[in-house]
Assembly symmetry: C2
Homo-oligomer: 461 residues x 2
Amino acid sequence: MALFLVFGYQLVGLHAQSNPKSDADAFYIREIYNVALTKGKSYPWLEYLCNRIGARLSGTPQAASAVEYTRQMLDTMGLDSVWLQPCMVPHWNRGEKEIVRITHSKMGSFDLKALALGNSEGTGPNGLAAEVIEVKRLDELESLGRERLAGKIVFFNRPMDPTQLNTFAAYGGAVDQRGLGASRASKYGALAVLVRSMTTRLDDVPHTGSSTYEPGVTPIPALGISTNDAELLSRLLKEEPVRVYIRNTSHMMGMKPSHNVIGEIRGSEKPEEIILIGGHLDSWDVGTGAHDDGAGCVQAMDVLQVLKRLNYRPKRTIRCVLFMNEENGLKGGQAYAEVSNRKKEFHLAAIESDRGGFTPRGFTCESENRAFDKKYKQIMEWSPLLEAYGLSFKRGGSGADIGPLRSQKGVLFGFEPDSQRYFDYHHTAIDTFETVNKRELELGTAAMTALVYLLDKFGLE
Amino acid sequence: MALFLVFGYQLVGLHAQSNPKSDADAFYIREIYNVALTKGKSYPWLEYLCNRIGARLSGTPQAASAVEYTRQMLDTMGLDSVWLQPCMVPHWNRGEKEIVRITHSKMGSFDLKALALGNSEGTGPNGLAAEVIEVKRLDELESLGRERLAGKIVFFNRPMDPTQLNTFAAYGGAVDQRGLGASRASKYGALAVLVRSMTTRLDDVPHTGSSTYEPGVTPIPALGISTNDAELLSRLLKEEPVRVYIRNTSHMMGMKPSHNVIGEIRGSEKPEEIILIGGHLDSWDVGTGAHDDGAGCVQAMDVLQVLKRLNYRPKRTIRCVLFMNEENGLKGGQAYAEVSNRKKEFHLAAIESDRGGFTPRGFTCESENRAFDKKYKQIMEWSPLLEAYGLSFKRGGSGADIGPLRSQKGVLFGFEPDSQRYFDYHHTAIDTFETVNKRELELGTAAMTALVYLLDKFGLE
C-alpha cells in the first residue's frame, strides 16, 4: 500500500446505530475508546510485569512481586478500596533443564526440545530410558493394554486441527493428551509420557501447561516436545524402534501463601451488584506470561483507570480481580468465590480476559441463571452499539478463574480477541512483551470498559 | 489460559446459514478453507520472496528476480497460461545512508533516525544545513508564506490519529504531509522537508513511502524521521531554534523495463468475464516487503493453487496478476489496464490484497457501474456464507493497482484484514517475513478464494 489513498472509512460512534435514545451511549462508548487509545496505561504496566518482574509462577518470589506491583498500581487510581485476598497455592518447580534424548536411531543420538509439563514429577537425578510407543488418542491406551504399554514411554502425537477457525476449538480438541495423558498411561504401567506441543505451528518451541494425576495413580514424568520434534520422532518410529532417555527433576514443593489482588469502585445506587473484570496474575515459569495472562491483568486494571479518568460514577460496584494460580491449581479463583459466597455477595456479571492481548472480536457469555435466555436477549440488544468496534456476543464458556462464580447465577463473560496467534506463544519461552501490540491491547481495555458501562447502566433484568 | 476447558466453539460451514439451497456453497467454502489451511503454499513462497530475494524496489535486480520466481511458481500449477506483461518503471535509488543531524541544541549534536522518501531528490554530496520550522498541516504553509519558510527546513509533524479504529483512516488523515509536503514547501522557498513517520506507534523506526513533486516545482529533499525523533525535535523547537544538517544522495535513475506477472485459468462458459486477484510484487528498498505486499502476491497466487488442488473448473476466467511498481509509480497497474482496454477485456471483478497478511475481516467494494446498488445488494446476500469466517462486505476503496480498471465498470474489491499492526511495519526495515503469521496469511487466501468462488458461480447481474 503506497500512495495516499483515503479509503472512505468513516468515523464510528455517534452514528453507529439508528436508535436516537442510545446516541448518548454511543457517544460515551466512543469516549471510552478515545481515552483507552490515548491515555491507556496497560502497555507500560505490562512492560513492567514482563520485563522488570518476569515469569510469575505461583509460589515464586516473582509472583509475590507481581502481587505487590499491581496492588501499588491500583493504589494510584483513587479507587474506593484496594486489598489483597489470601489464598494457598501449589508451588511447582521445574528443576534442572530437562533432557529428552533419542539414544539411538538411524540419525544417531540427539536431544529433543522439551519442557516438563506443569505439576508433573520428574524422573529424578538418574533419569530413565525406554522404548517409545506413539498413540494419537487417550482411548488407544485401553486397546493397547498393559502388555504393550508397561515399561514404555508413551508419545501422544495428535496435532491440533488446523482447519478450526478458532484455535481454542483446536486446543480443546487436543489438550486432553497434555492434561490426562500421564495419568492414563500410568495406569497401564508406562514409565513416562511425551506430548506433542499444543500449537498448530511447526516449530522448535516446546510448550508447557498443566498435567494432572488422577487420584491413586502413580505419578510418572510428563514432558511436552516441540511440534518439529514430534514430527521427527513420529517419522523415526515408522521405520524402527526408538529408545529415549529422559531426565528431569521437576517436583511439587507444597503449598505456599499467596494472594489475589483486588480493587474496586463502589456503586452509588446498587453497590451490592458487583461487576467483575479480571485476569490471572500467575504465569508459567518460561517466557514472561505476556499474553497469558499479563495482558488480561493490565486490561482489567486499565478498565478502572479509564473509568476514573472519565470521572465515571458507577451505580453498581466495579471490581477488578487479579487471580493467582490459574495455571496450575485455580486456587485463587476458588478462594475468591468461597469468600464471596460466604459474604453473600452477588456478581451480576464477571468478565475474564485470558485469551491474549489481540484485536478484540467480542465476548462469549454463559450463565446458570434460569432466566439467561431473557438476559442474553437483552445483551444482544446492545450489539448495535458495539458492532462499529468489530465486537459481537455469542454463547460460550467464559474463563477459568470466574468459573467458580457460576453458582451465584450472574452472567459470566469471556473476552474474545482474535485467536490466530495465541497458540504460537501460549505456555512457551516466547510469550514475551514484544509479541503484544499496544493498540490491540488497548482495544481490549476499551471493549471491556464499554461492556462494563452497559452492564452498569442497564443491569441485567 | 491453562486448563483443558472446551469453550463450546462449533464447527462452522455446513450449518453456517439456513438457506438449504446454499448448503452446497457452504460446504464448498468449508473445503476451500480446509485446503488453504492445510495445503496452502503462500507461507513458503513468502519466505522465499522475503529471505531469498529480499527487497524488491522497481527497477532493481531483486524486482527482476521476483518476477522470474513468481512466474516459475505459477508455471508449476498447471494453469492455462502464464505470461509476463512488459511495463516501464521508474528506478529510484536511495543512495548513501541518510544523515539528518541536529547540529546544535541544548542536547548537543546528534543524528535522527531517517529515511529519504521515495522518488525524492537528495541534497547531493555536500548536504545542506538550515533552521527547522514545524508545521502540522499543508495549509499552514500559505499563512506562514515565503517570508517565514524560504531557506528553512519544514518539519511536518501531524501524528496519525490513534483514536481511529481503522488505522487506514488514520493514515489517510496524515499522509498528505508525506505525499505533498516537499512539493508544497518548495513553492515557498523551503530547502528540504522532514516528515513524521506514518504510524501511531512511538518508536525509533523511520518510515519511507512515496513523495511527489508537482509539475514545475523545484525538487527539494524529503525525509521521514521516526516518531520518537519527531517528538524530540518538536520538544526542542518549543525551547529554542534548532538547526539541522541533512545529507542524502537519493535520486531518480530513469525508466527501466520490468513486468507484471500473470497466470490464469480460462473459464469454461464465460471466459470473457475475468475475475482478477492480485497484489503488487515491488516493495520499498528497506525491509523485505513482507506485509507490503509480498503477502498479497502469495495469497493471490495461492488462490489459483487452492482452486487447482480442488480441481475447480471455473465458468469464468480466474486471473492472478502480480503488479509491478505500485509503490512509486503505479506503472504496472496502468500498463495492465491499458492492455486490457485495448483488448476490449471485461473484468467482472478484481480483488486486490494490499493491506497486509493479517486476520481477514472482509472486503471493501466499489464500482463505477450505474447498477452497482443492485450488484452490491447481491454481494451482501452472500454475507451469511462468509459470516462464520468473520468476513463482511462494506463499501469503500479497493486497491491502487486495480484502480485503473474502474472504467471497465466491473466491481473492485479490497481485501480487508485486521488493520491494527499494519502501520507498525509499513515501509520500514522491519517489514520482514517473521512478522507474518502463517495462519493469518492462509486465512486471507481462503477468504479471497471463497469470494472468487461466489463471483464465478453466480456472476454479478
